[in-house]
Symmetry: C3
Subunit: 358 residues, 3 copies
């Protein structure tokens, strides 16, 4: 059988029907805060330290990924993609833990995200902590469209056992797909029905970046559900890239009125060295141009609010530079300006990342 | 050197004297309870998520296995086989953490066990939580017999440090070993001497399957010991398979009388597609026929009681179907009917597993 | 690409520019105490159980090492070397978590250390728990000298986030480097400036070996700093080896006077089978002769004291035997005699290790 390496280890059987690989990623960060009303601690931190085993056997595949930097004392907290999959009909059937199909930037790999942290329209905000769920997914994709549906237990490996059930669906379409321009549009719907044992669903705003202050935007009470609609649009045209998402969620409240959470962001990049951000048709997201010494300027405006509670809103404006040293490494610099309307806090953060994926 | 894969990664040196491999297993379960007097939470769960490193060097071998799905905040709780071994005289010497030689179904790999959970005559019941121990083992095996002895600290990697000492011995014999029929008989003896720092030895009955209610059948008090005798018998004849174990244990009590725990089970399978369950002579257990689309009906009756406490007994009747999709994957469906005589609880469980070993 | 194994897995690309490997180590110990005034529990224990991923890509390298035997419920406690590195100018630039350049025996790999535990002049004592730090390092080395400097956050991956900053520098020189004799000299300086969130810096004496009693020799109070000077000397001449270190540290005290901690040790070995301990020029430490059936007698006298607190001192005298069965395995036997002057405790320990590195 054939062995190969690009820093990782990979073996493919002579007939190509079996495959095994060991890879991983290291994201090493430093954060410095310019505190206003809140008091955040500047520090260094491994943002991600993952070992990823992948393989193929008898027309099935598996992904076994543990994030050692995200693993606390609770069993399973380090699990990321942990699933088996196969082709069924026109699509890909996944069983185990995976990201439900919703939120474009959430589905974008952490190796490829534009800014150091994902926007509020992801599991960093409106789907707080609900990045990976356990269940069954089905994804059909073609050059220009994807359609993914997922049914899941409202539990990731690190959560309490519970009987909550959820579902999500995401459809994307790329009406323009040319060598020098790709336009992407998408929509998703997510429903999460808690059970009394389910940890409350939350929308949260870490409005000054990682390890900064956070504000709870909404929280379901005992056994209530959350319904979320999301819209996506993006364009990659030569060195220019722009992406926006809008999401609105209804957070159930057992005793009072439901609360509506709204979030949107627009982020963009200009690649000084000219490369175009490529499109990954199989997932309906944008990925990263591979090369040496690519320099990219980035910016994002991100907003979230609880429409039913006065002043319960936060916004974050970020600017940054990405430096792609080689196809496996990236250095990121972000300047994050946060604002919490409720408290009036306007703290800022400078964040730095050294990233290697192998 | 020669690289190969069947979904895993393996490299063997040209002269065969060195070897290294990375493999693993994913067991993904869903449990639904029909609760009677107890209140169990239905859920999905990774039953096992293991990375297994194995190798050979200078006539020694090692196994380094961590179960990420069994790893809590306590150091070492994820360790499974974690040992080095070599051939000494006629047998295999093992140093480190391994399963002491006792209980046939315990020694059977979780990839091969007949039902989703092991019976009471294993570390699931009478040897509760004492699946792996740290020490030294020696195992002699031939085509038709095995003899294993182990001496150990009464500590697995995740337990408190303690000075307790234990020993076990297991002898098996296969009087009939033909192409279409194997008959197995075995006996084991285990002694576990606690020390004041040793966590109390327990016999426990999870009588409605995994994550259902549990009843403590016996518990040693400070520094007391447990002595257990086990008997085994099994037959594999064409598509028919049956296996039974009996174990009786004396749980020491510092202030009162010792308590005697008795357990037995009989389990069987009928493979609709005709394959015979093969015998693994080196360990004295039955394993799994390798193939595609093998369908097997299974059943077990399992009983445990404390003979010295009135009504402290539990029984579990399980029926199931195993579907072996390919040599690396299995889907399991179990229906588990439990009864706790002490409380009168008669809850049931439907359990489902998707299993891949690579 | 080319696959190879010596018990591990390694793949190197045909042109040598890419490389990936999976290896590890298992150190399995047993401790028996002869308790005097303190009451330590004899036990078996995995001292180390590490998986180590290493690789090279685009002129960079990475090390991803997790010690499963050192990993508690706190995120990152298992991280050891977790960094990326490259050649910059004449030296090696390291980013991430690594051992700051200070203390010769600390920098010596645990696979190569002379006795089972490191002396007080390491992170086992005067740099207690501060073995790995997060930051940036730069190391220049030639055949006969090394010069390493490190700047770091006073945080290893398992510590609290904090804004403490530290730096260290170590210079070594080997004035004699002949086939049958190497003489090594070195000096290091370390400064650690705590911040209010930094866990207090401590000097500790585990004076009866691992899992025995321990005495706090010094402890900084809120936000104070530690400054340490270290001196090293060693000689390897045929079968004879001797190594000594001296370190003196100033532990800051916010309210009272600073406290001065002094420690030194001398350790030696005589290799009955004649092999000379080789020198590792790239790191400025001694390593292990590779071969079969090497037998080595070892001894160490180790002392630590707080010069500003009467009788706050401890000493440990150890003797031992190392048996190198083959290039990958070692068995160690240590007899450790400890003395705590403050309490008068004079407990002893017998310790045994089975070690495999692959």
């Amino acid at each position: 059988d054939e062995a190969s390496t690009r820093g990782n280890l990979k073996i493919v059987s002579s007939d190509g029907s079996f495959e095994g690989s060991v890879g991983g990623r290291i994201h090493f960060d430093a954060y410095a805060f310019d505190n206003d009303l809140t008091d955040s601690t500047s520090t260094s931190e491994f943002r991600r330290a993952r070992i990823t085993l992948k393989g193929k056997l008898y027309n099935w595949g598996y992904v076994f990924e543990n994030d050692f930097a995200g693993q606390s004392g609770t069993t399973g907290t380090g699990f990321r993609d942990m699933n088996i999959y196969t082709k069924v009909g026109p699509g890909k059937l996944t069983i185990g833990q995976f990201k439900p199909y919703r939120s474009m930037e959430e589905i974008t790999s952490s190796n490829d995200i534009l800014m150091m942290e994902r926007p509020y329209a992801s599991a960093t905000g409106i789907y707080n902590g609900r990045q990976f769920q356990q269940g069954v997914g089905y994804l059909i994709s073609d050059d220009q469209y994807t359609l993914g549906v997922a049914g899941f237990n409202t539990k990731s490996a690190g959560d309490n056992r519970n009987e909550g059930l959820g579902g999500s669906a995401r459809a994307t379409f790329a009406p323009i797909m040319q060598d020098n321009m790709v336009v992407h549009m998408g929509a998703s719907y997510s429903v999460e029905n808690a059970n009394s044992m389910t940890t409350a669903f939350e929308a949260e705003a870490d409005y000054v970046g990682r390890r900064g202050p956070s504000e709870t935007i909404a929280l379901t009470t005992d056994g209530e559900s959350v319904n979320t609609v999301g819209l996506e649009a993006a364009i990659s045209a030569g060195p220019v890239f722009a992406q926006a998402e809008y999401a609105i969620a209804d957070f159930g409240n057992a005793t009072g009125d439901d609360e509506e959470v709204q979030t949107y962001y627009i982020q963009g990049a200009y690649t000084l060295t000219g490369q175009m951000k490529p499109y990954k048709s199989s997932k309906g997201v944008f990925t990263t141009a591979k090369g040496n010494n690519i320099v990219q300027l980035t910016a994002r405006y991100d907003y979230i609010e609880n429409k039913d509670v006065t002043d319960l809103e936060a916004e974050t404006t970020s600017v940054g530079v990405n430096y792609y040293l080689n196809p496996a490494m990236r250095f990121m610099l972000n300047y994050v300006m946060g604002e919490n309307t409720l408290t009036g806090d306007e703290s800022n953060q400078v964040a730095l990342r050294a990233q290697m994926a192998f």
